[in-house]
C-alpha cells in the first residue's frame, strides 16, 4: 500500500475512534445523534478510500442521512439528555472487551491484503461475475448487475423485509395521522 493511502486510512480511522469516544462521553442526545451522523459520513469517506463506492454511498445515504433523521424523530419522544451513570470500571467486562479485541486483531493477521487479486473474495465467484457481466447483462456497474439481476431473489427478499419493517413499526406506533388531525385543523386557519 502506498504511503499516501496509508496516511489517509490512518487519519480517517483515528477520526472514527475520536468520534466514537466523543459519543460515549456525551450526554446530550441531540449531540449524540449528530455525532453518529458524522461517524457514518467519515466511515463513508473511508469506504471510498477502500474503493467500495457503492457501500460508501449506501453508508452516506442510510447512516448519515435517514438514520440521523429517524433518530431525531425518535429522540423527540423521549428526554433530551441521557441519564448520568456513575463511572465505574467493571473488571469482568473490561477483560471480555480486551480479550475479544485481542482475538480480532490476531485474526486480521491471516486476512489477505486489500485488493489482493488472489484473495478468495476476488478470485472465484467475483472473477466469474466480472468476466461474464458484460455478455450476460450489458450493465457497466457490476454491483448493480449482481444485486438486481444475478441475485434478484435476494433483493426481492430485502425489499420485502424493508416493507415488513415499515409496516410493523407503523402498526406498533400508529400511522401518525390520528394525533395530528386536530393540530392540522388548527394550523389550516391562519395560514391559508
Amino acid at each position: 500500500m502506498e504511503v499516501g493511502t496509508a496516511l489517509v486510512n490512518v487519519a480517517l480511522l483515528s477520526m472514527l475512534f475520536v468520534i466514537a469516544l466523543g459519543i460515549v462521553r456525551m450526554r446530550s442526545l441531540f449531540a449524540i445523534v449528530m455525532m453518529s451522523g458524522v461517524y457514518s459520513l467519515v466511515s463513508a469517506a473511508w469506504f471510498v478510500a477502500l474503493d467500495a463506492v457503492d457501500v460508501a454511498f449506501t453508508e452516506a445515504a442510510v447512516g448519515a442521512g435517514i438514520s440521523t433523521a429517524l433518530m431525531l424523530g425518535a429522540m423527540l419522544l423521549t428526554s433530551r439528555r441521557a441519564k448520568v451513570e456513575p463511572r465505574l470500571i467493571n473488571v469482568a467486562s473490561l477483560i471480555v472487551c480486551l480479550a475479544t479485541g485481542a482475538v480480532l486483531i490476531y485474526a486480521t493477521i491471516d486476512l489477505p491484503a486489500v485488493g489482493d487479486p488472489l484473495a478468495p473474495a476476488n478470485a472465484y465467484v467475483g472473477a466469474e461475475y466480472l468476466e461474464r457481466v458484460e455478455a450476460d447483462t450489458g450493465v457497466p456497474n457490476v454491483v448493480t448487475a449482481v444485486l438486481a439481476s444475478y441475485r434478484g431473489f435476494d433483493t426481492l427478499g430485502e425489499t420485502a423485509v424493508i416493507f415488513t419493517a415499515g409496516i410493523a413499526v407503523a402498526l406498533l406506533l400508529g400511522f401518525g395521522e390520528r394525533s395530528l388531525s386536530d393540530q392540522t385543523n388548527k394550523k389550516r386557519g391562519p395560514r391559508s
Binding site: F57, V62, L70, G73, T144, L156, G166, A170, G174
Partner: protein, 149 residues
C-alpha cells in the same frame, strides 16, 4: 409558526428540490455509477423528512399523506414481484429478465428493462417504508420545539 429559523427555512427550501432530483439521478444512473433503488429511496425519503422537520409534520402530511407513503411501500413490493410473474408468463424463470422482451440472443434490452422496473419497485418500497416509519415516530410530536435546536 416561528420565524426566527428564517435562514434554515430559506436554505432548505432551496435544497429540498435538489435532494429530490438527486434521488432520481441516483435511481436512473444506478446502472452506470454507484447507487440504485435503495439509496435513491432513502434520499427521496430524506427530502420529505427534512421538509417535515423544518416546516412541521402537519405540512408534510398534507403534501405526502401517510396513507400514500404506506401504499407506495406496498406498490413497490408488488411491482418487483410482478416483474417476476411477467417473466414466468413469457415462458422464463422467475425474475429472468431476458424473457421480458422478445429479442435475439445476446440482446440486453430485457435485462435493462427488468433492472429498471425492479429498481423502481425498490425505490417505492424504501421511500414509502422510511416515510411510514418516520411518520409513526414523528406523528406523535407535531413540531420541534425551540429549545431543542
Amino acid at each position: 409558526m416561528t420565524d426566527h429559523h428564517v435562514i434554515l427555512r430559506v436554505v432548505s427550501k432551496f435544497l429540498i428540490p435538489i435532494i429530490a432530483v438527486y434521488a432520481f439521478y441516483v435511481q436512473f444512473h444506478g446502472d452506470y455509477g454507484p447507487g440504485g433503488g435503495f439509496q435513491a429511496g432513502v434520499i427521496l425519503a430524506v427530502s420529505v423528512i427534512l421538509y417535515a422537520l423544518i416546516f412541521g409534520i402537519a405540512e408534510a402530511l398534507t403534501a405526502i399523506p401517510a396513507v400514500f407513503a404506506r401504499g407506495l411501500a406496498g406498490v413497490g413490493v408488488l411491482l418487483y414481484a410482478g416483474v417476476g410473474l411477467w417473466t414466468i408468463a413469457n415462458g422464463g424463470n422467475y425474475l429472468d429478465y431476458d424473457f421480458l422482451v422478445d429479442e435475439p440472443p445476446g440482446g440486453h434490452a430485457g435485462q435493462h428493462l427488468g433492472i429498471l422496473l425492479i429498481e423502481l419497485g425498490v425505490l417505492f418500497t424504501v421511500a414509502g417504508s422510511m416515510l411510514t416509519v418516520f411518520y409513526a415516530f414523528a406523528g406523535r410530536v407535531t413540531e420541534i420545539r425551540d429549545e431543542d435546536w
